[in-house]
Symmetry: C2
Subunit: 209 residues, 2 copies
Amino acid sequence: MATTDKPTDTEYGKEVPPPQQPPTSGGRALLQWRPAVLDLSNIDVVLRSLLFAASVVAIVVIVTSNQTELVPNPFTRRLEYRKAEFNHSPAFIYFVVAFSVAGLYSIITTLASISVILKPNYRLKFTLHFLFWDALILGVVASATGAAGAVAYVGLKGNNHVGWVKVCNRYDKYCRHLAGSLAVALFASIVVVLLIWLSSINLHRRIPK
Amino acid sequence: MATTDKPTDTEYGKEVPPPQQPPTSGGRALLQWRPAVLDLSNIDVVLRSLLFAASVVAIVVIVTSNQTELVPNPFTRRLEYRKAEFNHSPAFIYFVVAFSVAGLYSIITTLASISVILKPNYRLKFTLHFLFWDALILGVVASATGAAGAVAYVGLKGNNHVGWVKVCNRYDKYCRHLAGSLAVALFASIVVVLLIWLSSINLHRRIPK
């Protein structure tokens, strides 16, 4: 038994690479570098930071949309200086509130996501909580984008059936700000969808096949 | 040895219950009844059916909101019979399209969810796909609800800043239909959030601690 085992052992031995030294701390960090960058947690932090940036930009752009123009009073038809502000429409107020919530939420979850990278033991719990809250925030952000977009569209095109006049032919800067803010808001909604997808993949990857 | 073993055997024998017959198919089904009802897959089917019902109701109620009233023409101010229809506003058209998509999606996923109950091996794959698509549908449904709600709010309250007159004081049935449809749409959005939560829990439960 020992003689038959011996040659087999050495035959396999030829294929075996020379025994490696245990990697040093620096070497291990270098080996783990690529997976760490491609890790889903890092993408999560990046997306949450993007959500924060997009929320801030959307709010700032819509809040700074004030414009004063010489336009006819809608009731008396006399020309007068009238100001267009975002808070003249409840939909835009809801938009600002919703993206304030989303911005605050993104700060908290970016910090939470960074803490998960530092302490990966808590990742499972955090991922489930992220999924729960991301779904709620997606509902809030998407409905706010829809609401502001619908009112902005009425402002752009008017509605002849009920006699709602368009306002964007007079308030050009105001409507440019609205359009910019809505574009960023749409981007933010897509980021939240991506965050939900990422968390789902994160959970799915941890299930043994 | 044989004499010392014999009494011990009979002593233990007293404690042993009489041998049970193998349970029949009906008995086994009865034993498995409670876990099956509490299974998350069944809740998933129920929620997806609810989403289908809510989508159909939301569409039917908004499509049947036609109302003709004797109202002043918004431009000439002369009294005439004017019809209010959902397709006078692009936001309501988007609303109907979005909930048509959600209704169709809910039919497909209800069938898929039932097939998962019949063949549980595919549950993992399906749950991940459900999460992906549910997130998209949530975005569509929530934005449609927001858009229709914002335009309906302008119709209800008007907007004095830009001279958009209210219409709900004249078209009462039209606005009641809109309000009903929006309430059902809000319910549908909540159902989609619950579906995302359910799929997340479903994935999370399958990860070994």
